[in-house]
Symmetry: C2
Subunit: 343 residues, 2 copies
C-alpha cells in the first residue's frame, strides 16, 4: 500500500437532520488524509458497509437506545474491511474484520476507539465477506436473539414476520422453521414472496403490496399468530394484533413504515388485543446480546454449512458516493435482501 499520509479517505457526514425521507442535502462529502492510529490502534480499509433501517433513527435528535449521530460527524455504519495498519498485537495487516467503520473508505481506530468499535476478526473461509454483514452480522444476531429469546417460539406454533425478505426477516423465518414452527412472512411484491417461500422454505408469504394483509392472515395463519416479529409497524401491526392467539408474543424490532413519518407515529389502535389475549409486546435491541454473539455465530455458521440456512444480499456498487441513494432503497422497499454498499 502507498504511504499512509497520501491515502485519501472519502467520507459521508451528516450535514443536517432530515425531515421525512433523507435527501442528498442531508449529507456532506469530505476528504481527509489518514493519520497513524497510534499505539494500540489500527486502520481498516472498508470493503463493504451495512445499510440498515436503524440508520434512519440514528439521524434523529433525541433520546434513543443509542446517541444520535452528531451534525458533521461521519455517518455511523457497520462494515467489513481489511486491516492495513496495525499497532496492535491482536491484529495483523491483511486481517479481515467487522466493526463500526462509519461511512468512509478508511477507518482509523486509536486504542480507545478500537474498544468501542465492536471490532471482531472474521473468517472468510466460513462464509464470504458479505455474509458477515447479514446472517453472521448484526441482522443475523437481531433475528436470532429477537426470535429465540424474546419471541420464545415453541414447536408447532405459528411465527409471522414482516419484512420477511429483508436481512432480519430472512433469519427469523428460517430459525422458526428450524425450531419446528410454521413460518409465515409478509413482504412487498411477488418476487420477494416467491423467494421467501421457494428459496428460504417459509410455509407462506403474504404480499402486502398486491392484496389485503387481513385476508392473507385469515388464509395463511388460520389458527392465529403465536409470535409476530415486527419490522414494519403501522397498519400491518394493527392488522396482526387482531389475529394474535392467547399468550402471543410480539417482538418489536423496528417500524420501517414509520421512520420517515413527518407526523406522529400512528400507535397500534388494537393494542387492547394484548389484554384480551394476555399477550406481550416487547422490544429488542441487538446490542444487549453482544456477549452472546460468538455463540450465535457458531450456531448460524453450522446451519449455513448444513444447508439449513440461506441468505441473500443486495450489493450496491459504486462506493460511498452512492450512499445517499442506496440508503433510501430501504424505505422504498427497493432492495431485495440485505442491503450492502461495496466501497
Amino acid at each position: 500500500m502507498p504511504e499512509l499520509a497520501s491515502v485519501v479517505n472519502h467520507q459521508v457526514r451528516l450535514a443536517s437532520r432530515p425531515v421525512g425521507l433523507p435527501t442528498r442535502e442531508n449529507w456532506r462529502f469530505t476528504e481527509e488524509s489518514v493519520v497513524d492510529p497510534g499505539e494500540g490502534g489500527v486502520v481498516v480499509q472498508a470493503l463493504m458497509l451495512s445499510l440498515d433501517p436503524a440508520m434512519r433513527g440514528w439521524m434523529n435528535e433525541g433520546r434513543s437506545y443509542i446517541a444520535p449521530v452528531a451534525i458533521d460527524e461521519v455517518m455511523r455504519a457497520g462494515g467489513v474491511g481489511r486491516v492495513i495498519v496495525s499497532n496492535n498485537a491482536g491484529f495483523t495487516i491483511g486481517d479481515y474484520v467487522s466493526a463500526g467503520l462509519g461511512v468512509q473508505e478508511y477507518c482509523r481506530l486509536d486504542a480507545a476507539a478500537l474498544k468501542r468499535s465492536g471490532i471482531v476478526k472474521i473468517d472468510t473461509r466460513v462464509a464470504p465477506l458479505e455474509k458477515w454483514l447479514n446472517p453472521l452480522g448484526m441482522p443475523g444476531m437481531t433475528g436470532y436473539f429477537g426470535l429465540l429469546e424474546v419471541g420464545q417460539p415453541k414447536a408447532g406454533e405459528t411465527v409471522l414476520v414482516s419484512g420477511a425478505a429483508g436481512a432480519v426477516g430472512q433469519m427469523v423465518g428460517q430459525v422458526a422453521k428450524i425450531m419446528g414452527c410454521r413460518a409465515v412472512g409478509i413482504a412487498g411484491g411477488k418476487d420477494k414472496c416467491d423467494y421467501v417461500v421457494d428459496e428460504l422454505g417459509f410455509d407462506a408469504c403474504i404480499d402486502y403490496k398486491s392484496g389485503s394483509v387481513r385476508e392473507g392472515l385469515k388464509q395463511h395463519c388460520a389458527s392465529g399468530v403465536d409470535v409476530y416479529f415486527d419490522n414494519v409497524g403501522g397498519e400491518i401491526l394493527d392488522t396482526v394484533l387482531a389475529r394474535i392467539n392467547r399468550k402471543a408474543r410480539i417482538v418489536i424490532c423496528g417500524a420501517i413504515s414509520q421512520y420517515n413519518a413527518t407526523e406522529a407515529v400512528a400507535g397500534p389502535k388494537n393494542y387492547l388485543s394484548l389484554l384480551v389475549n394476555r399477550a406481550r409486546m416487547e422490544g429488542i435491541v441487538v446490542f444487549d446480546w453482544v456477549e452472546r454473539y460468538p455463540e450465535a455465530i457458531r450456531q448460524i455458521a453450522r446451519w449455513i454449512s448444513e444447508g439449513k440456512l440461506r441468505s441473500r444480499e443486495d450489493i450496491v456498487e459504486g462506493g460511498i458516493a452512492k450512499f445517499p441513494e442506496a440508503l433510501n432503497l430501504l424505505f422504498s422497499g427497493g432492495n431485495f435482501g440485505k442491503l450492502v454498499l461495496r466501497v
Copy 2:
C-alpha cells in the same frame, strides 16, 4: 323467609348494546318469581353487587376474553350474598358466598350453573362483606397477580399505577410498597390523591385533572418508571411510555378512558419506547389466576389484619333500580373507591 314462589326477583337485563356511554334505554327491568334450583343447586339472595369497568366491555358484541352478555340476558355481575335455599351438601342456608350473581336480587343456580358461577364461601369474621368485593375479591386478585406476576416489581423500583384510588389501583400501590418499591399513583382530583398518599401510603399521587401528567411524572418519577400498571389507556399511557426505564414492564389491565369511545381507540403513539427501552407491555386477565385465588386471599387477609393494607369502598344505596346510574359513575370518575351497589 317466605315461600320461594312468592319471592319477586327484580332483574336488570341488557336491552340493547350502547354506543358510547350506556343510557337507561340500554337496560330493561324485569320481574320473575324464583323457582327451586333442583338437585345440587342453591338460591342466593344478593346483598351487594360489584360494579366494574370491565362490565362496559361485556356489553359489546365481538370476540373478547369472555363472551358478551346477550341481548335480553340478565346483566353479568359479581356479587356477595346469602344462601336462602340449598339442595347442595356444600352449602347451608345462611352461608355468605361470593359468586357471579348477575344484576338481580336473587340468583338461582342449578347444579351446572353453580359450577360455572365461581361460587366461594366467604368468612365475614375475616373482613366485612364489601371487602370480599374489593381487596379479597376480583379487583384485589387483579391487582395482586397483575402486579406481582406480570409486573414483577423489584425492591427499589418505581411502580406507577393509574386509577390509583380505584379498586385495583389501591391494591397495586399498597402491594408495591409492601414489596419495597416506590409507589406513585395517578388519580382524578385532590381528594383521591390525598387519600392515596395519606391513607394508603403511596409516595406520591399525580392529579390528572388539575395538572399535567407529564410534569407530575418528571417530579414524582424523576428516575423513570419501572412498572406501569395501566387501568386507563389513552393519553396517559402515551405520556408514561415517554418516561419508562430500560426493561420496564407495562401491565395492561384496562383502558377506562377508551371504553365508551365511539371512534376507534387511540393507539399508544409512543409504543416504540418499548423498543428503545427493551420494555414489555403485557395484558392481564384475572380469570387466568383463579386456581391461585385462595393463596392470594390468605396473603391479603394477613396484610389487612396486620394493618398493612387498607381499602375503601363506595357503596351506592337504593338497590338494583339504581344500577344504570351507579355503573356510569365509573366512567365519570364519580366514585371514590371500589364501587359497590347495595341490593
